[in-house]
Structure formats: C-alpha cells, structure tokens
C-alpha cells in the first residue's frame, strides 16, 4: 500500500511569540553573532580540509574546547579570535573602517577621455549617472557622478 505524506501545516504559537518578543534586540543580536562566528570558524576548518582535532592540535587546545567554540554559545576573547584567524587564515575581527560610499552630484561636461594624468585622473563610462574612479596619487576612490 502506498503511503502518502501531506505537507505539515504552519502554525503560530502565542507562548512562542510572547517569549520571543521579550528578547531584547541587543541580546538577540549577540546570540546570533556568536552562532555566525562559530559557523565561520567551522567553515574555515573545513576549507583547510581539517577536523576539530587538527585545530585543537594547532592551537594546543583540547578537542572539547573546540567543540565549545563551535557550539555557538561561546563568548570568545580577542586573543583567541586572533589565534584562530592566524591559524585558519580567515577574517573574524574587522579592524579597518569600511569606507562609506560617497555620492556627489555636480554638472559635468566631458570633452575628452584622459587616459592618464597625475596626480589626478578618472576612468569610467560617463552617461547621465556613472561610477567613476578618481585617483589621488596612489589612492583611489569611487564616486557616483550625475551629469545633471
């Protein structure tokens, strides 16, 4: 006799909603980030073709400690994160400021494309709105440019 499976119904629960909604956004974010951090470390271990015991040996830790790190519940200290970054060659802690995208609008008339000019040059197709790369010496920055 053929067995049939019907799709499970979706349900909402008052007690789940009440308890979940009582979690502060800050607490929820910390819990989520601990798990995302653990997932990234696990990915780094697998990317190296390693298992937990390999990371434990590389960092002179017990395997049970690695299990705790990967559980998503651990509150890491910075030195441990730096060690893991170094051994797995992955990024876990961002120290550099992420440059903010700048949007500058100005009237722009282009009569010719300058291939190269120092200390400042530009590159990119210029239509009504374009992304151009401005170079200041060795530094460069992208700008969204509107011609109107």
């Amino acid at each position: 006799m053929m067995k049939t499976m019907s799709k499970a119904e979706t349900y909402n629960s008052k007690i789940i909603d009440e308890l979940f909604d009582s979690i502060s956004p800050e607490k929820e974010e910390k819990i989520r980030k601990r798990m995302l951090l653990a997932a990234r470390i696990d990915k780094g271990i697998k990317a190296k073709g390693w298992k937990k015991k390999d990371l434990a040996e590389a960092l002179n830790k017990r395997r049970s400690e690695i299990t705790r790190w990967l559980s998503g519940t651990h509150n890491f200290n910075s030195d441990t994160l730096f060690d893991i970054e170094r051994i797995l060659n992955i990024g876990l802690v961002t120290l550099n400021d992420v440059p903010k995208e700048q949007v500058i609008k100005f009237h722009l008339v282009v009569s010719e494309i300058i291939e190269s000019a120092n200390p400042m040059s530009y590159a990119g197709t210029l239509n009504d709105t374009s992304l151009i790369d401005l170079y200041y010496g060795e530094e460069s920055q992208f700008y969204a440019v509107s011609s109107n």
């Binding site: 979706t10 629960s13 789940i16 979940f20 653990a38 696990d42 559980s71 998503g72």
Partner: protein, 86 residues
C-alpha cells in the same frame, strides 16, 4: 499513537524549517508544553533557546556543530542544543 507534525512559523526561515508535534488530541504542541512547563523557572534559558532556534531557521541552518549528537537511544537520531554554559 496518533500524532501531527506542524511547522513553527515564527522560527522557520530560508535556512531551516522547525517543527513540533501534536500528540493525539492535545491542544498544545510538545514544544509549547516544554515552554509552558519551564517559563517560570528558566525563562532566561528559554529565551536563549528561542533566539538560537531563530538563528538556525533564518541565518545559519541546522549546522551539526550546534548540536550535541547521540542524546537519545542508539540510532534514533535525537540530538540536543548545547547548554548555555557547558
């Protein structure tokens, strides 16, 4: 024993779906019963569990690393979330 599987809307997302079970003609799922029974004594722990399940459903998926394996009888596939401080 008759039972019915239901998908928990609040905690399920693109990464994983989470389910509970209605037994016989009970009005609450097993998960709701668990929450009711522990909400007075272990409210903080329950909130942590819910936040972790929500992360699994919406952000990470049910990665094996988040679970203690072999928590049930041999071969039944039962696993558990880790204690907050283990």
């Amino acid at each position: 024993m008759r039972y019915r599987l239901v998908k928990i809307n609040k905690l399920s997302g693109y990464e994983a779906s989470l389910y509970s079970i209605y037994l016989e003609d009970e009005q609450r799922t097993l998960f709701e019963r668990f929450l009711e029974e522990n909400k007075n004594s272990f409210k903080s722990e329950l909130k942590n569990i819910l936040a972790r399940l929500n992360t699994i459903g919406h952000y990470t998926g049910a990665n094996e690393q988040f679970f203690k394996l072999r928590e049930g009888k041999p071969g039944d596939g039962v696993c558990a979330l880790f204690d907050i401080k283990f």
